[in-house]
Amino acid sequence: MIPAELNDAAFIIVQLQPDEHDDIKALRDTLRQFAVFDATASTQVRAHAHQAATVLNLILLGGSADAPALLARAGASIESAMTASEQASRGEPRATKTDLIAIVHEDGDAGALSDAMDTQAAPPARSTGAAASGERSLAPTTVAPSPAVAVAPTVTTPVIVHATAADGGTVPDDADRSLLGDFIAESRESMAGAEAALLELESNPDDIEAINTVFRAFHTVKGTAAFMGLDRLAEFAHHAESLLSRVRDRELPYTQAVANLSLRSNDVLGGFLVAVETSIQSQQPIALPSDYADLMHDLLNVDAVLAGVETRVAVQSATATALPSAATTPPRTDAEPSVDTAARSSAARAGPKTEADQSVRVRTDRLDRLIDMVGELVIAQSMIAADPAVADSGQHELVKKVSHAGKIMRELQDLSMSMRMVPLKSTFQKLTRLVRDVALRAGKVVELVTDGEETELDRNMVDAIADPLVHMVRNAVDHGVEGPADRERAGKPRAGRVTLAAFQQGGSVIVELRDDGRGLNRERILAKAIEKGLVSPHQMLTDSEINGLIFAPGFSTAETVTDISGRGVGMDVVRRNIESIRGRIDIHSVLGQGTTFQIRLPLTLAVTDGMLVRVGDERYIVPLTSISLSFRPEPGMLSTIPPGGEVVMLRAEVLPVVRLHQLFGIPAAVTNPSDGILMIVGDGEHRVALLVDQLLGQQQVVAKALGEGVGEVPGISGGAILSDGRVGLIIDIARITQLARTGDARPIGLSQAA
């Protein structure tokens, strides 16, 4: 089977114009990604794909008047890759080494040229081509170690051409500095963990968990580096990871040689991180770590190295001339690989200070505990302030001091809350990449505009909306925005536009996703919903109710199920995820003009603005965001619908009445709604009128779990310490409206009521 990436690439490249640089760039990245990471494809297929990417890069680097010819050449390489993968899937023998050499020969000039252009900073005298051809001219010899030139048979794999380039590329211009800082800090941690695990393996080589730790560390660095556009680093990490994956799969034993290679890999990765940091500051290309060339070579020829064959000499001479940027570090001349790793890694760590050093990483559970404690402090303080011994003491000085302490504590609370706030920037940035990839695959031209990415949100919430946003953005690009041809026909610009905006509004943060695509087709949604039995054909639904149907489980209007989206799972999960963090999602859509999704989120999860209500002897907290209105009903507003349903009529709207005392089995509560208060709660179509005895006032509370001994309680989302020190329960409005809808609002007694 031909991988989807290649199919797509072939489809795209035939439509590409030489001046469509953005699309070429996207295609190049896709191909590179595929070549480096897709372990399911054969080496040969990947070599061709890599070649195609290299040729595309030539076009991007510009200067060449012959862009159309290069485009054709890239196309040919993609075709070769497809042919090769077809052969592979038909079970034909994989390419022999001679074939691979042929691939290099065939495209070798382009490769050399590309590398030369890749590294503009390098002196022109550098001879990558010579190095590459030098390698190629090395004939495979017998395995006997020879002090002169003994070369492993695989030395001419196409990747080696890449490996001998002079520098590690540049930090992409569009890379985010703070993200890079995070990346470096995180990677350092991974590397430290990996090193500890590697040392553990010295004494206990069978520790598969330690192998996994190292593997994961390399894997993480690889993935993030690729995302950051640090291709050379990603590629290296990939090879380091491959070695370990073979150990993990028990293909290779964990011998001293493997240990040495892995430790060196770890050091080189560390070196890379320092080099990236330096490069950010100096604006120079990333210098390759000193051991890089040797180690890359060893990793590529790992079997020979492990068999004890000395393979390094030849390449060393080639890289010595080809590595001017490594001139500051003495070229390695000794053959023993791991003697000076310790010295080098400590040197690597003494690298220049950057943004990453300006922050302290704190475990989130500690931070949560701190915030909890501060919350308690605020409550304790307000209990002191409210105590009659203070409040009614008539001692002004004392009251003044107490209230001063209160002011400081509230400031402390604000500060502690702000520690969890992070900007949405990195979330948005990941989506930029996603839009590009999805658009490419779907054959569309889509431009993503982001706005307000500096808006801050509680860290937990940023994590919680990341997945839903990915899903929604995919949907917007895949289903929302039309293809270029359709758009032109509709009189719109060829390029679709997806806007991602975030802003604060009152006590909420709004994240908005807008597309200028075809909009929701309500007729089709309704037809589909009727077909799936979600609504009955006779039901009269408002526009917003019909829009809301896309959140129903198992619903999808996409005519074709693509591999990107449209499997009918998703929007219901999106909604559930957002509701789980007390958020809300609304849709506005105009047919032919686009769709807007609006996610409304509370500023932070830690503090809830609540309305304290009384029912019988019990007190509950209703989150303020879910209350739209509270009132004492006139008897005339209420009607009973047999068998036992109760509704209230409010400005022509009919809402079901949910008696909280009945739902929770609370004795001695107000039973006549006209003697109590009805609170209109919930959102959109799921509003109900909740009957309580009395409103006690507004209060900020710190939501807490009820403790594992209680488990999940339907209708209760947690507890909070009230100002008198007792626990108040927080009502889960979404659940209550759901209970009301499913008719499960029958009374279940409190423990004592039984």
Binding site: D372, M373, G375, E376, I379, E618, L663, F664, G665, I666, K704, A705, L706, G707, E708, G709, V710, G711, V713, P714, G715, I716, G718, G719, I721, G725, R726, V727, G728, L729, R746, P747, I748, L750, S751, Q752, A754
Partner: protein, 164 residues
């Protein structure tokens, strides 16, 4: 799981003993985190009857369990005085008692295995019967009390619902 014999031989140690419905119970002292005097408990709807509710223990919300309810005893006639906060597998839970008695050292030799009452369901919550100073103490297997009955509670809810 260790056999009953194995368990009783290693059961000796210190126990916090307390009164509940006229009987004296014991719980391993290492499980006990603290003893607090009775305070108002916030009832939690839609939970099993033996969950009395939740309290605020220095900023932490912890559940309170009613052993009478759990063991099927009639409600207390005298006011209960204390709650014993125990910790099992990192979970804190308060247990209501009439009053605390003492911390008693009970040697393994003085602990008898629980006699088999056949159908009696509650003996599985006992580690054994401790004898010291001529008194009999029912030594609670608190881990079981807190965990096993959860299952019993969950299975009893549908039955309840059908009854209504």
């Amino acid at each position: 799981m260790a056999s009953t014999v194995d368990r009783t031989t290693s059961l000796g140690g210190k126990y916090l003993t307390f009164f509940l419905a006229g009987e004296e119970y014991g719980v391993e002292i290492l499980r006990v985190q603290e003893i607090i005097s009775m305070m108002p408990v916030t009832r939690v709807p839609r939970t099993p009857p033996y969950i009395r509710g939740v309290i605020n223990l220095r900023g932490k919300v912890i559940p309170i369990m009613d052993l009478r309810e759990k063991f099927g005893m009639p409600p207390a006639t005298e006011p209960e005085q204390v709650m014993i906060v125990v910790q099992v597998d990192g979970v804190q839970i308060g247990v209501v008692a009439d009053k605390v008695s003492e911390v008693a050292s009970i040697a393994s030799a003085d602990i008898d295995p629980t006699p088999d009452f056949g159908t009696d369901f509650h003996t599985e919550f006992l580690l054994g019967l401790g004898k010291s100073n001529g008194r009999l103490r029912l030594l609670l297997d608190i881990e079981r009390v807190l965990s096993t009955d959860e299952v019993a509670a969950v299975t009893s809810i549908p039955a309840l619902a059908q009854g209504t």
